[in-house]
């Protein structure tokens, strides 16, 4: 039997203590300063969203806390013409690709605009059926290949998603069709209450690449430097027709599965503590401080800026709440069928009646 850990050693560039192993690769110090500020802003947003749910402003929210480096690294190498096919927890990744964070709140609020991606941004709306988007990713990448575009597509999904038949079919189609796609697994080691070891018997997700005769990689998902560099290399390679690839980014869900979940029921606090020490923010902070590139004042400025931006997002979100329920009828089909038109009229009357 194969030892997955040995075949796919963990790729790391910035360790838990904030020590650089090797060099920054394609990244610069400036990149990392900016990345750190963005990551901190995203963390602020995420924690704020959690609180908004607690206050009843939004509904169920799935936090990405702990997975920021993986998500940001996943899209770090993408160009405007590249595609992102995200899963439901990817507000950080989507944000970097041009989807405002309001969408994360829309999603939790059940606001009709949740998937109304800004024009021109090549991001698909998040959907909730585990692994279904992996096939969409294959289709998108295939379309770009058929049109001879030099474009990379990244599809993201969780560790639990790799158990679904759709994931397998996607990997198989992608490899047979040789599409320019990177399968990016955010292995946060939990699928709600189910730990990785009950999700699969293999040691690593990366080794699943062997089943499809493609290259796989296992990278420290809490190490932005490692993930971003790997994705730079692989995006370039897929654009040159060498894909698909499978990337396993080893990370951890620092919070609950969603605001409706209580991890206390099923996982040990020691494990959480261990991973708190591996927080992707912490190691970047340590490194930047060690370089003398981050002071307490810088931090305070970043935080103030983050707060301000989050407030703006929430304000934008609140404004957007004033939307007509009738939109529900207007994007079922391109043209409203007559049968549905009469239902729409009934609905309109009802909306008027209750004064909504």
């Amino acid at each position: 039997m194969t030892d997955g850990m040995e075949m796919f050693p963990l790729i790391q560039r910035l360790d838990e203590e904030g020590n650089l192993i090797g060099d920054l690769g394609v990244l610069s110090l400036a990149d990392l300063k900016e990345t750190y500020a963005t990551m901190r802003f995203l963390r602020t947003f995420d924690e704020r969203a959690w609180n908004l749910q607690r206050q009843g402003v939004i509904g169920t929210y799935a936090p990405f806390k702990g997975q920021e480096a993986a998500q940001m690294g996943a899209v770090a190498a993408l160009e405007d013409t590249d595609w992102l096919v995200p899963t439901y927890r990817d507000w950080a990744a989507s944000y970097l690709r041009g989807v405002p964070l309001e969408h994360g709140l829309f999603f939790s609020k059940g606001h009709p605009s949740l998937g109304d991606i800004p024009a021109g941004k090549r991001v698909l709306p998040a959907q909730v059926v585990i692994a279904a988007q992996t096939l969409h990713g294959v289709g998108v990448a295939w379309a770009t290949k058929l049109r001879h575009e030099k474009v990379a597509t990244v599809v993201t999904f969780g560790d639990g998603a790799t158990s679904q038949g759709d994931f397998h079919e996607a990997m198989n189609f992608a490899s047979v069709l040789a599409v320019p796609l990177i399968f990016f697994c955010e292995n946060n080691q939990w699928a709600i209450s189910v730990p990785l070891a009950r999700q699969m018997h293999a040691e690593t997700i990366a080794q699943r690449s062997i089943a499809y005769g493609i290259e796989g990689f296992r990278v420290d998902g809490n190490d932005y430097v490692a993930v971003a560099n790997l994705m730079h290399e692989l995006s370039e390679r897929v654009r040159n027709g060498e894909g698909p690839f499978l990337v396993e980014a080893l990370t951890y869900r620092l919070g609950a599965h969603t605001t409706a979940d209580d991890p206390g029921k099923y996982r040990a606090i020691e494990e959480e503590d261990l991973w708190i020490r591996r927080d992707p923010l912490v190691r970047l902070e340590r490194w930047l401080r060690a370089q003398g590139q981050l002071s307490d004042e810088d931090l305070a400025a970043i935080d103030a800026d983050s707060e301000r931006k989050v407030e703006e997002i929430i304000a934008g979100f609140r404004e957007a709440l004033d939307i007509s329920p009738l939109v529900l009828f207007d994007s079922v089909y391109a043209t409203l069928p007559s049968t549905l038109a009469s239902q729409r009229a009934q609905f309109e009357a009802r909306v008027k009646e209750v004064g909504a």
Binding site: Y88, Q127, V128, I192, S193, R198, K265, L328, F347
Partner: protein, 329 residues
């Protein structure tokens, strides 16, 4: 008098599962997060601790896998009770339900059977994300070989679930998630059965038959109260409880008496099970009917984003209005 307790549907279901695990060592519970977590709605709470990981099993995240392995377990003599975390994910496993579980007996001319239960929370009203709130029961009423059971209250929930587990054929057991903890009822302590295939006349009346199941019963009952109180109309209320095989007799007898019927469901209107009921009534009681059978249903859109689900879902006033139109037709 037997021991009684005031229980929610969630508690009643948990009791039924516990009783089944105690009674029959062939019973196993499997699904996503049904173990330590006790299920995302806590219906299997405490069972993993009591019966261990060989009886209450957290599976990998794959619905076709859950149902497909259940078919194998059942064919080999076990009695799997599988949980699908939300009914909207049932699509993933439709082949294993409709082409496999439902056909085991037929395909083998009775040599094999697949006694298994597939439990799933369903229906809207809890502000869940997309796909989580869909009412897809009609799809399975079109599948010979399985039974579709939908309780609407704690007493039936426990008794029907135990009957479903006893049943020698596969049963799809749909649990109205909005009602899981909405109210309590007297529920006997012991493991009693409520028979499958029998509708229940919840309230007798003479003016119009109101027909519902599962989550819709809440509005049907509220509407019935209102009709009596405000309009002096005496509705007869039928809770189908089992959708297939359908208790046609109870429906037809009632409509022959009241000469009017309103069917209520959350599912989208077109090809919802309400259509089947209406078709059936006009076939079997045509000469009795004083008004068309009316349907109060969801609209023909995907289940809405939840900001607007309350507007979208059928409500009591729509049932009242339909009943009045029927009576005044």
């Amino acid at each position: 008098m037997p021991d009684m307790a005031k229980l929610t549907i969630a508690q009643a279901l948990n009791q039924a599962l516990e009783a089944a695990l105690m009674e029959d060592s062939a019973v196993v519970i499997l699904g996503e997060d049904v173990g330590k977590d006790g299920g995302v709605f806590r219906i299997t709470d405490g069972l993993f601790e009591k019966f261990g990981g060989d009886r209450v099993i957290d599976t990998p995240l794959a619905e076709s896998g859950i149902v497909g392995t259940s078919v194998g377990l059942a064919m080999a003599g076990m009695k799997p009770v599988a949980e699908i975390q939300f009914f909207g994910f049932i699509y993933e496993t439709m082949d294993q339900i409709a082409s496999q579980a439902a056909r085991v007996r037929f395909r083998s001319l009775g040599r094999y059977s697949a006694p298994m239960v597939i439990r799933a929370p369903f229906g809207g009203g809890v502000k869940a994300p997309e796909i989580h709130s869909d009412s897809l029961e009609a799809l399975f009423t079109h599948t010979p070989g399985i039974k579709v059971v939908v309780p609407s209250n704690p007493y039936d929930a426990k008794g029907l679930l135990l009957s479903a587990i006893d049943d020698p054929d596969p049963v799809l057991f749909l649990e109205p998630m909005r009602l899981y903890r909405a109210f309590r009822d007297e529920v006997p302590e012991e493991a009693y059965r409520v028979p499958l295939g029998k509708a229940s006349v919840v309230r007798e009346g003479t003016d119009v038959t109101l027909i519902g199941w599962g989550p819709s019963m809440a509005l049907v009952l509220a509407a019935a109260d209102e009709l009596v109180a405000q309009y002096d109309i005496a509705p007869e209320v039928v809770d189908l409880r089992t959708l297939t095989p359908l208790d046609e007799e109870t429906i037809v007898t009632s409509v022959q008496k009241t000469q009017r019927a309103v069917v209520v469901h959350e599912a989208v209107r077109t090809s919802g099970f309400g259509g089947e009921i209406a078709a059936l009534i006009q076939e079997k009681a045509f000469l009795y009917l004083e008004a068309p059978v009316l349907r109060v249903t969801g609209y023909d859109t995907p289940y809405p984003m939840t900001m607007f689900e309350d507007l979208w879902l059928p409500d009591t006033s729509q049932v009242v209005t339909a009943a009045l139109s029927s009576v005044r037709f």
